[in-house]
Each structure stands twice: as structure tokens, then as C-alpha cells.
């Protein structure tokens, strides 16, 4: 295939991308579901008890935010990074190390408003450095390298006692307390999580339409052409890693406040892969996907045991359930649950318009 042919072949994607964006806009703002979900999330503390509020919805939003950072990289940048949880965990560790915790010999005892920015900055730097290594390679190599970075950090925390306190990790980490509010009390913490998740969600949505995001999508579709147009391909990729790392770091801080402890077990390789599963099951083509995936994942993780026991099976087999579910999604829909839903919806619209005799809105 000559280069000209190749160029002609790739001339189409911008059009389809524009169409896709139109479809997204249509789906996200013209249907009644999103405002409904937003209102529901806002009044959740009135409906749900504290278990549902934090264990289900809070965890969903935190995991969803980490997966959102992967979605930004994978969906818009075409780089599947398995180290997003590692970046989040790094931020969590930094909060524990710089802030106040039960391990007085390790923690420096800084107030939270100093420790958190420090943790965010360091985790973003860490993620950007990892990204700068990963962008030296492409496609599936990126998966392998980021997985290896994640594993390296896991083993490092496991063996380092001076900073990371080995495999016991750091416990009883202090959570912020100011203006007379305990921000880790269930309702206040839920709103902190919700605000952070919403901020990240809209930031990613904005980035996807900003010049930087468009250039990033161009890099994903045809790096050679973007380079020829004068874009610095690698700089765009590294910048995407930096933004994604910041988002993951935010979620990591919330994660460590949620559990009040962090250990190598919470940043293990399997956990890293869980994030990929969440993003893929939800759908990595738009920012809602990761949250949907996280919700499904958390529901499965929490209730699969009871469900399996009720059906008469061994309750410990819930990872099998998750694995099979993941396989099914990957097999039948390249765009996760969101893709399935949209396909079903489009079909419904089409049959409806056919019934009316019109040609649909196109």
C-alpha cells in the first residue's frame, strides 16, 4: 500500500469522528437520562443508607475516576496504560507519608492542605515519567511496559520499609477536619467524592473537544500525518499521560481517605488489571463508560458472593463471574456496555422512525 493510498484511507476518520461527536452530544444532552442521574446522585444521601452511600456509590465514583484516567489515555490517545492504579496508589502513599498516620516513624505529619498538593504533584510527576517511558513504544508494547511499571512499584513497596513500610503498609491515616466538619463522615465524604468525580468527568469532556484533545485524537488515528502537519506527537502523548496521572492521583487521595490505610495489596497487579476491566466493560470511547463499568464492577464484587450462594454455587467464584463477564463484553462489543446500550437504542430509534415513515434524523 502506497503512502497516498494510506492517506486517502485515513482521510475519512475526521468525518466519522465529527459524526461520533455529534452522536455523543445528542446522547448526553438531549436525552432525559443524564440530568436524572445527576439529580439522583445529588440527593443520594437522602435515599441510601451509609453502606450504600460509601461502599457502593462512593467506591464506584472513586474507581470510576481512576478508570476515567485510563479512558482518557485509551479512548482519545490510543494508549492502554495499566499503571493508572499505580499512580493513584502512589498518590495515596504520598498522602500517608507526608501527612499524619499511625506509623509515626514514617509519616512526616504535614497538615492535609500541604500533604495533598505534594502528593498530587509527585504522583503526576511519577505518572508523567512512566508515560514518557511508555510513549517510546506503541500499541500492545505500551500495555506490557505499563504493566511492568505497575508490578515494579508493587514489589518496591513490598520490599521497602523506610518509606512504604513493607507489606504491612501504612495504617490509620488521618483524614481532613476543618470548618467544624469531619470530611470523612459519610455524607460530607460522599459529596467530596462526587464533586471530584464530576470535576474530572467534565474536565475530560472538555478536553475531548478542546484543541489539545482533538490533536490527541488525531495522533491516535494517524501519528505520521499529525507529525507531518507539525504536531509534536510524543509531546501530546506525554501531556495526555500528565493529565491522566493528575486525575488518577486525585482519585488515589480519595481512595486512601476512604480506607484510611494503604498497603501493597491495594496496588497489586490484579488491582491494576481490574481498572482495565472496569474501563473496558463500561466502554472506553466516552467518559461515562468508566463510571458505568465501575458501578457494574462494584455491584458484582459486593453482591456476587451472596448471589452465587443463593443460586447454590460456591460464593468464592465471583472472580470467575467477573472474568467471564469481561470476556463476553470483549467478544461482543468493542465499546463495552455503553456501546451495547447505544446500539440497542439506535435500533429502537430506527424502527420507530421507520414505523412513522420518516427517514430519521440521520
Amino acid at each position: 500500500m502506497s503512502l497516498i493510498q494510506e492517506a486517502r484511507l485515513h482521510a475519512k476518520p475526521p468525518a466519522t469522528a465529527a459524526q461520533r461527536r455529534a452522536a455523543i452530544a445528542w446522547m448526553e444532552f438531549d436525552s432525559p437520562a443524564p440530568p436524572l442521574v445527576a439529580v439522583l446522585l445529588l440527593i443520594m444521601p437522602l435515599i441510601a443508607n451509609s453502606f450504600f452511600l460509601i461502599e457502593i456509590f462512593g467506591t464506584t465514583l472513586i474507581l470510576g475516576t481512576i478508570a476515567l484516567s485510563l479512558m482518557l489515555l485509551a479512548g482519545y490517545g490510543g494508549m492502554v496504560s495499566l499503571m493508572q492504579l499505580t499512580v493513584a496508589g502512589f498518590a495515596g502513599y504520598m498522602v500517608a507519608v507526608f501527612g499524619v498516620s499511625g506509623s509515626a516513624n514514617i509519616s512526616l505529619g504535614w497538615p492535609w492542605w500541604l500533604a495533598v498538593p505534594m502528593a498530587l504533584a509527585l504522583a503526576t510527576a511519577f505518572g508523567t515519567f512512566g508515560g514518557a517511558l511508555a510513549v517510546r513504544t506503541e500499541g500492545i508494547y505500551t500495555i506490557m511496559i505499563t504493566l511492568a511499571i505497575g508490578a515494579a512499584f508493587y514489589y518496591f513497596t513490598n520490599q521497602n520499609w523506610a518509606i512504604f513500610n513493607g507489606h504491612t503498609g501504612i495504617n490509620t491515616i488521618a483524614t481532613p477536619h476543618f470548618w467544624g466538619v469531619d470530611w470523612r463522615s459519610d455524607i460530607a465524604f460522599y459529596y467530596v467524592i462526587l464533586a471530584t468525580a464530576a470535576l474530572c468527568y467534565f474536565a475530560v469532556l472538555y478536553i475531548s473537544r478542546a484543541p489539545f484533545g482533538l490533536a490527541l485524537q488525531g495522533v491516535r488515528d494517524n501519528p505520521r500525518r499529525m507529525a507531518a502537519l507539525g504536531f509534536n506527537v510524543n509531546a501530546h502523548r506525554v501531556a495526555a499521560y500528565a493529565i491522566a496521572s493528575f486525575i488518577a492521583a486525585l482519585a488515589g487521595v480519595l481512595q486512601v481517605w476512604n480506607y484510611r490505610q494503604i498497603s501493597p495489596g491495594s496496588i497489586g497487579v490484579e488491582r491494576c488489571i481490574d481498572i482495565l476491566i472496569i474501563a473496558v466493560v463500561g466502554g472506553i470511547s466516552r467518559p461515562v463508560g468508566p463510571f458505568v463499568g465501575a458501578f457494574i464492577f462494584v455491584i458484582l464484587r459486593t453482591f456476587a458472593l451472596d448471589f452465587l450462594v443463593k443460586v447454590g454455587l460456591d460464593g468464592n467464584r465471583f472472580r470467575l463471574l467477573i472474568g467471564i463477564g469481561f470476556l463476553v463484553i470483549v467478544f461482543w462489543s468493542s465499546d463495552g456496555v455503553i456501546g451495547l446500550w447505544e446500539r440497542w437504542r439506535r435500533r429502537a430509534v430506527r424502527t420507530e422512525s421507520r414505523a412513522r415513515g420518516g427517514s430519521g434524523h440521520g
Binding site: R136, M144, A148, A152, A228, N316, L320
Partner: protein, 383 residues
């Protein structure tokens, strides 16, 4: 940049065709493998001399490192050195453990790199195949009491799993690298849980056969007694046998790849599988054979790992990561690269665990990062 790409393309094609030429379907050309592999060897020698020409500093460093290592292994250590870094016996044991571990890593990683090189399929379920091989080997050896039989059973059963995977799963999504990778992740989760279900969370160790138990004395002096009598290194026989076996497997694989028709097809397929398919080779059969071979090797490695270490849940991820690092260091899709990478990683892990015990595993990842920074395609990759 476009110009550069245009220039590169024809050369790649020519390379693929050249690789295929020696494998012509007509009988007249059947004698050509010898000559073509000869030219390959010349190429390799030329490659080495070119490397020395281009990077004299690196070549010198590599040479010095090799000489120092050999001296450390064979010479009787002067007392000053023993004071500085400990006894020679410890060092020699670490080196031998590293080399045997490298042999095990090579067995796992060679299948991984072969599958990747030919099918562009990052099989993240490779660790599961290793673990499955280990469990099969344990079951067979405890049932029949035969160590050798457990290798055969593990190879056949795991190769069968590989064939099923290739036929049922990967063939349907050819060319979709990312989707295949995702599927292998899902499969590894399912396999891990199924094996946990079947075998529980216990540690298993495969019984070493009677004739392999016990140490053997090697002609390497570890120390000299005050009476002037030399003390020789004693090392477990079973590990040496395993090392020898993995070297033999490596050499056989190299010969099969470089001297046989199917090997030639594989090499041509690594270069450009579309052209290979276009010339009429039934590439699906080659794919199945390679997947079976790669999976079977992982199964054998499982038995080996179960004999001189142990098998338990979690080993699958450990060996998947080990083969990832080995393959990244050595170069994707290259068998000699896998051998070199396995040796480096095995030695680094063992020497690291003796001399800097806290960060032994981190050292291996540091090596990986270093290789990525200097030579992203891997040490022995061709591109």
C-alpha cells in the same frame, strides 16, 4: 518523515521475500536451506562486527564485563576481595542459581516471544499456561511417580489448550491486537480462578526423581584450604540437568527455526505474514503449530518450576511478568533475544537477592527501564 517511511517499506518487503525464497515450494530449492542459513550466520557475524564498529565504547564495556565475570568464576579469589564482597562460594552459587533461573525464564519466555513474533498476539494468559503445566505435572507425577512422564503429559495437555485457544478464540479476531490482548486478560482471570477452584491455594512441589537428588561436585574452586587443598563447588544435580535441558531446547528451537522448512515459514511470517499468506503458505496451520509449541513450552516450564521451586496461585502472574520483562529486554519476537534477556534477568535477580536483598526484584525492572531508555526495541531485536 514520510520520505523515510517510503524508503523503508520496499526494504522490508525485500527482506520478507528473501526470507521466503529459500523456502520455495519446488523440490529444486529444497537444498537451499543450508546456503541460506549460512548467509544468515554471515549476517550475524557481520552484525556483531558492525555493532563493534558503531559502538566501540559499548562493545568494550561488554567485553570487560564478560572478562571480569569469567575471572570471578574461575580464579581463586584473593583475600582482599573475599573481605570486600563475601565468600566465593556464595557468589558462585548465586551465579549458578541465576543461570538456572535464566534457563527456566527462557523456557517460559521463548514460547511467549514466538507467539508474539508470529501472531502479534500478546498472550497475557501465558502465565496461566505455565501454572496449568505445573499442576498437570504435579498430578501426573504423584499419580504415576514418573518425572519424565509428567513433562510429556504437561507438554501435550497444555499444547492442546493452546490449540483450542488459537482455533476457538484468536483466529476469530485476527489483526485486532488490542482485542486479543483484552481477551487474554479475561482468559487469565478465568483460568486463575478455575485452577484455584480445582487445586486450592496450597503450595505443591513436584517430587524430584531419586537419580537426580543430591549435589554434584563441579571443577570450580571455591576456596583453598590452609593445607593447600582446593575446595570445589557442590551444586544440586537436578538444577544442572534442568539447565542443560533448557539449553538443548533452545538450540533445538534455533535449529528448527533456521534449518527447517517450517522454521523458514515462521521466520518469513515474523517478517511479513501477509506476504507469506499471499504466497500460498497455509498460514493458519503454521499459527496453530506455533501456538501449540509455545504453550507446550510453557507447560514444560511449569513442571520445571514446580520441581525446583513450587507452584501455587499467583505464580502465573509472577512468570507472566518475568517473561514480559525478559522479552522486553531481549527484544520482541527474537529467540536469541529471549535467551539473552532470560540470562540477564535471572542473574540480576539472584545476584541481587544475595548482594542487595531488599531490592532484588526492583533491580530487574530497573534493567528493563534502562533498556527501554537506551534501546526501546530490545537488545537483540532486528528493527
Amino acid at each position: 518523515m514520510p520520505n523515510d517511511a517510503q524508503n523503508r517499506r520496499p526494504i522490508e518487503m525485500a527482506g520478507a521475500l528473501g526470507g521466503y525464497d529459500g523456502d520455495g515450494a519446488s523440490g529444486r530449492q529444497l537444498q537451499s536451506p543450508r546456503s541460506s542459513s549460512g548467509s544468515h550466520r554471515d549476517e550475524r557475524v557481520a552484525g556483531v562486527s558492525r555493532f563493534i564498529e558503531r559502538h566501540p565504547a559499548w562493545a568494550l564495556i561488554a567485553l570487560i564485563a564478560a572478562v571480569v565475570l569469567l575471572w570471578l568464576i574461575f580464579a581463586v579469589w584473593p583475600p582482599g576481595l573475599e573481605e570486600a564482597i563475601g565468600r566465593k562460594k556464595v557468589f558462585l552459587n548465586a551465579v549458578f542459581n541465576g543461570i538456572t533461573l535464566g534457563g527456566l525464564y527462557f523456557l517460559v519466555a521463548s514460547g511467549f516471544t514466538l507467539i508474539f513474533g508470529l501472531m502479534r498476539n500478546v498472550n497475557l494468559a501465558h502465565g496461566s499456561l505455565y501454572l496449568f503445566g505445573g499442576y498437570v505435572g504435579y498430578a501426573v507425577s504423584s499419580w504415576t511417580g514418573s518425572w519424565v512422564l509428567s513433562f510429556i503429559a504437561a507438554f501435550i495437555l497444555v499444547a492442546l489448550v493452546g490449540i483450542i485457544l488459537q482455533l476457538v478464540v484468536f483466529r476469530r479476531m485476527e489483526g485486532e491486537d488490542l482485542r486479543q490482548t483484552m481477551v487474554t486478560i479475561g482468559l487469565s482471570i478465568v483460568f486463575a480462578d478455575l485452577m484455584l477452584w480445582a487445586f486450592g491455594g496450597d503450595f505443591y512441589q513436584i517430587q524430584t526423581p531419586q537419580w537426580l537428588i543430591g549435589p554434584v561436585e563441579l571443577p570450580l574452586v571455591t576456596a583453598v584450604k590452609s593445607s593447600g587443598e582446593a575446595v570445589y563447588l557442590r551444586y544440586p544435580l537436578v538444577r544442572l540437568v534442568i539447565l542443560a535441558a533448557s539449553v538443548v531446547i533452545g538450540v533445538v528451537m534455533w535449529l528448527a527455526l533456521n534449518r527447517t522448512r517450517i522454521g523458514m515459514m515462521v521466520r518469513a511470517g515474523v517478517d511479513d505474514r501477509d506476504i507469506l499468506a499471499a504466497t500460498g503458505v497455509r498460514i493458519q496451520i503454521v499459527f496453530v503449530i506455533i501456538f501449540a509449541l509455545g504453550a507446550g513450552l510453557a507447560g514444560i516450564a511449569g513442571v520445571v518450576g514446580g520441581t525446583f521451586q513450587s507452584i501455587s496461585p499467583g505464580e502465573d502472574i509472577r512468570f507472566l511478568l518475568a517473561s514480559l520483562v525478559v522479552v522486553i529486554v531481549g527484544g520482541m519476537g527474537s529467540i536469541p533475544g529471549a535467551a539473552l534477556g532470560a540470562l540477564i534477568i535471572g542473574l540480576a535477580e539472584q545476584l541481587g537477592s544475595v548482594y542487595i536483598p531488599t531490592y532484588a526484584i526492583v533491580v530487574t525492572f530497573l534493567i528493563m527501564v534502562l533498556v527501554l531508555a537506551i534501546r526501546p526495541q530490545g537488545l537483540l531485536a532486528r528493527r
